[in-house]
Every structure is written in C-alpha cells, then in structure tokens.
C-alpha cells in the first residue's frame, strides 16, 4: 500500500505514506505537551507519545491512569489528529460523575505522564485516496455525523481531507448543545473555507445563536434528511457520539434509504 502512495508528489500524501494503513498497536508512554479548554465542558490535550507509529484519521487509543495504590482505570478516546509523527491530540468531554474524564478535563497538565495503547480500530477510518485524488473520478462523497464529543474522529477525517486537498465531497452534520460547545470551532470554520472544502451544518439542541433559523431541538429524521448527502448519491457515512445518538441516527439513515453497509459507527457509551 505504501508503494502506491509513495509515487505521488504531494507532501500530504508523502507523509501519509509513512503510516501503514493499519499501524501496529502497542503500549506507549505519553507526556502531556499542552492542554487547553476546548469548550466550557471539555479540554483539548496534546500528547507527545514515545514511539507512536502514526495513526489513520478516525482511530482511537486507550488511556490508562494509575493511582498511587496501584489502582488503574482505562478508557478509550478518539484521536483528533492523524498521519505520521508522535504528537497526538485528544479532546475529552467531562461526564459529571465520571471517574476518568473529570481528571483529564480539569486536572491533567503539561508534563504529566500517562500510558496509552494504540492506535486502535481499523474500520472507523478514512484515508485520502491517492488514486482518486490523481484522477478525481468516481469518489463517493463522505457524510460525517457527530453528536457532541463524537466529532473528534470526524474532525480528524475532515482535517486529513483538507490537508490532502482531496477532491472527495465532504459534509459534516454536527449536533451540539450550544454555540459554546462546538469543538474545533476555528479549525472547522477554516476547513469550510479551504480549497477542498468541508460543508458544515450545525444543529443546536439547547441554545442556538441569536437569529438562528430554527429553535434549538434535537436532531430529527427530517433534519437528517435535509442536511445529509442524499442516499441516491451513495455517500459513505460515519456516525459518532453517545450510543443513543448513534442508534437513532443510524436507524433513520437506513429508513431514508442509505445502504447499511455504507454506514460506519462509533458508539461512545451512555444513552
């Protein structure tokens, strides 16, 4: 696989070629390089991971924390970054009664060390297609659908798409509580303006910006129908968020005529 991409000259494709489609996973020591508030309820954490083999857009890793008494807790987190290199970006939402997420959102700081296992998952991934990029033929459009922190792996895909200047049509439907809760807000805006643009549709569930067309409400089947690439165009669809969100959206997509085999899902838990 790497031979094929190595023939292209674009720098993005060349750096992608350094990462096998499915890099081998393993345990690594990660040092927190930086943290910043992503939304009032979430933090972005940049890790420097010793020996990280790179990862494809959409993959996740396991974070293991160890308490002084030897107790450990392990949770999965999607990776917001992709490609070669040892820098890995996460974005974590604080669950009020959670064990791990409040620590990652509020307590972790630059210089702290964690253990991570990854990269993981070879199915919920998207890679720029070098052959299609060259010929710009017959690439199926890509529809991303995110609920809350479920945008993390989809942002990685949108960013990889932008970096590679991949001509595949890309659209993201993103459900958030309020305008303050948009992850990667500046980056998404920039991707929407870029030359390989991302079409961004936001749905606000609790509070919409002033003058917004519709009052805040959860995604409905009708919204999905109007803000998603139609089934007739055979998009590849990636859906990510809480289990309840993904279940609802995936069921509606099937009802709207999307081929179940074209819908890939990542369920974060919860209802």
């Amino acid at each position: 696989m790497s031979e094929a991409t190595a023939q292209t000259t674009s720098p993005a494709a060349a750096s992608a070629a350094a990462v096998p489609a499915v890099p081998r996973s393993g345990w690594h020591v990660a040092t927190v390089a930086s943290t910043r508030r992503e939304t009032p309820n979430a933090s972005r954490i940049e890790l420097e991971v010793d020996g990280w083999p790179g990862n494809a857009a959409g993959q996740h890793l396991d974070v293991r924390l160890t308490a002084p008494d030897g107790y450990t807790a392990t949770r999965s987190y999607s990776i917001a970054s992709s490609g070669a290199g040892t820098r890995v970006t996460l974005a974590v939402d604080r669950l009020p009664d959670g064990e791990v997420s409040p620590y990652l959102v509020d307590d972790v700081r630059a210089g702290d060390m964690l253990e991570v296992h990854g990269p993981l998952g070879a199915f919920f991934v998207w890679a720029p297609d070098a052959a299609h990029a060259a010929a710009a033929v017959d690439a199926r459009p890509v529809q991303l659908i995110a609920g809350g922190s479920g945008v993390v792996p989809l942002y990685a895909m949108a960013e990889a798409h932008g970096v590679a200047q991949d001509p595949t049509r890309f659209r993201l439907l993103y459900s958030v509580r309020s305008p303050d809760d948009v992850y990667f807000a500046d980056e998404l805006r920039r991707l929407a303006e870029a030359s390989a643009p991302l079409q961004l549709d936001l749905v606000y569930t609790r509070r919409a910006p002033d003058g917004w067309r519709t009052p805040p409400a959860r995604i409905t089947r009708e919204v999905l129908e109007s803000a998603v690439i139609p089934a007739a165009e055979r998009p590849r669809v990636f859906v990510c968020g809480s289990t309840g969100f993904v279940e609802r959206v995936a069921d509606w997509l099937v009802e709207l005529g999307h081929d179940a085999r074209s819908i890939r899902t990542e369920r974060y838990g919860g209802t």
Binding site: V22, S25, W27, V29, D62, R64, L65, T66, A67, P68, G70, Y71, T72, A73, T74, R75, S76, E99, Y103, D107, V108, D112, M113, L114, E115, H117, L120, G121, A122, F123, F124, T243, E247, A250, D251, L253, V254, A260, R261, I263, R264, T265, R267, G269, G270, T271
Partner: protein, 196 residues
C-alpha cells in the same frame, strides 16, 4: 511498565476479584457495533450450522422449542466495561452440536448485517456457549443483538456475535470482521487479549 499518574486517585473502591484486568464495572449495558442495528424479524430468522458434510437448519419456532438453559454469567467487553451476574436464556451449543458430525475444529460465526467472528469449536462446547434470545427476563433487544446472539462469556464480548444467523465450520482459524479490524484472534479477557 506502570507508573503513577500525578493527581489521579480514581474512585475509592475495593478491587472485585471477578473483574479481569483493565475492566471497569458498569450497571448499564454499553454497546459496541460497527454499523446500524439490523432489524431481524423472527418470522424470517433462521439459524444454520454448516459443516464439511452439509447444513443443519432451525427456524425460530424449532429453535425456541429446543432445550433452553438459564445462564447467569459475567460479561466483559473489550472497551473496558464488565457487567457481573447477568442473566440470559438460550440454547446451549452442546445441544445444537448434538447431532452435528464434523472433523473441522474452527468456527466462523456469521451475523445478519454481515459481521463475522471466529472461535475455536472447543471453546464453544462443554457448557461454555449459548445462542441467547432473552436477557434479564425479556426478549433480547435489537441493540444488544436480538432476536438472538451468540453468548461466549469467557471471551471478550465481541466474540458473542450479535444478530447471529449461523456457524460455518472451518479447517483453520481465520480472522472474522472484528479480528481483521484490530481485535485479537482469540480474546481472553483474563490475559487481556484485546488487540493484535
């Protein structure tokens, strides 16, 4: 290579001996699926076992008329959650294989929706696996694999194929869908066989 994570204490708790390493006890029932939940009507459902010599087939009525076991067991998902003392009803694989003659030692479980997972046959027999259609006294919900799923509680739960439709015997162990996508060929939670 464990070291202490500064500032992390975790919830105070006693370690439950029934939890394999790296697992957290949950009380809800999380879901791991790679795509939409297939809707399978019991009127059309059937279960088959295919061997080198032929095929055995049950429809829903035939299947639910077989000897049914009550199973109380702990379950462990690769995404780090475990549930203890879950209760299921289903047909033991020993019952299903009673009249099946085969020399082949490996099984590929096939599901409605196209998913597959591989398990050696000897890990499915001797009271180790069921095809379950009730959870907690209710028909198994589609989200959790209904109408029927494989139940192989001593392995990580992705091996307990949801929406199971049949077993195909194989001469050699081959990776199924989940295994091709990064999960371990075998999947023992006690030795943390999570990923390859």
């Amino acid at each position: 290579m464990s070291f202490i994570t500064r500032g992390f204490s975790g919830r105070s708790r006693e370690r439950d001996e029934r939890l394999p390493p790296g697992q957290t006890l949950v009380h809800d029932f999380p879901v791991l699926s790679a795509g939409p939940t297939p809707e399978v009507d019991t009127a059309e459902w059937e279960f088959t076992i295919r061997t080198e010599s032929g095929e055995h087939r049950w429809n829903w009525d035939e299947f639910t008329a077989l000897a049914i076991d009550d199973v109380d067991t702990d379950i462990h998902c690769v995404t780090h959650w475990s549930k203890l003392g879950t209760s299921w009803r289903g047909v033991s694989l020993d019952t299903l294989f009673e009249h099946v003659e085969t020399e082949q030692e490996y099984v590929m479980a096939h599901s409605y929706g196209g998913y597959t997972t591989n398990v050696p046959l000897d890990e499915l027999l001797d009271g180790k696996a069921w095809v379950a259609f009730e959870f907690d006294g209710e028909p198994l919900e589609p989200e959790h694999g209904g109408p029927a799923r494989l139940l192989v509680p001593h392995l990580y739960f992705w091996k307990s194929a949801k929406w199971v439709r049949g077993l195909v015997m194989m001469d050699q162990d081959e990776p199924g869908f989940w295994e091709q996508n990064g999960y371990h060929l075998h999947g023992d939670p006690w030795t943390e066989e999570r990923y390859w």
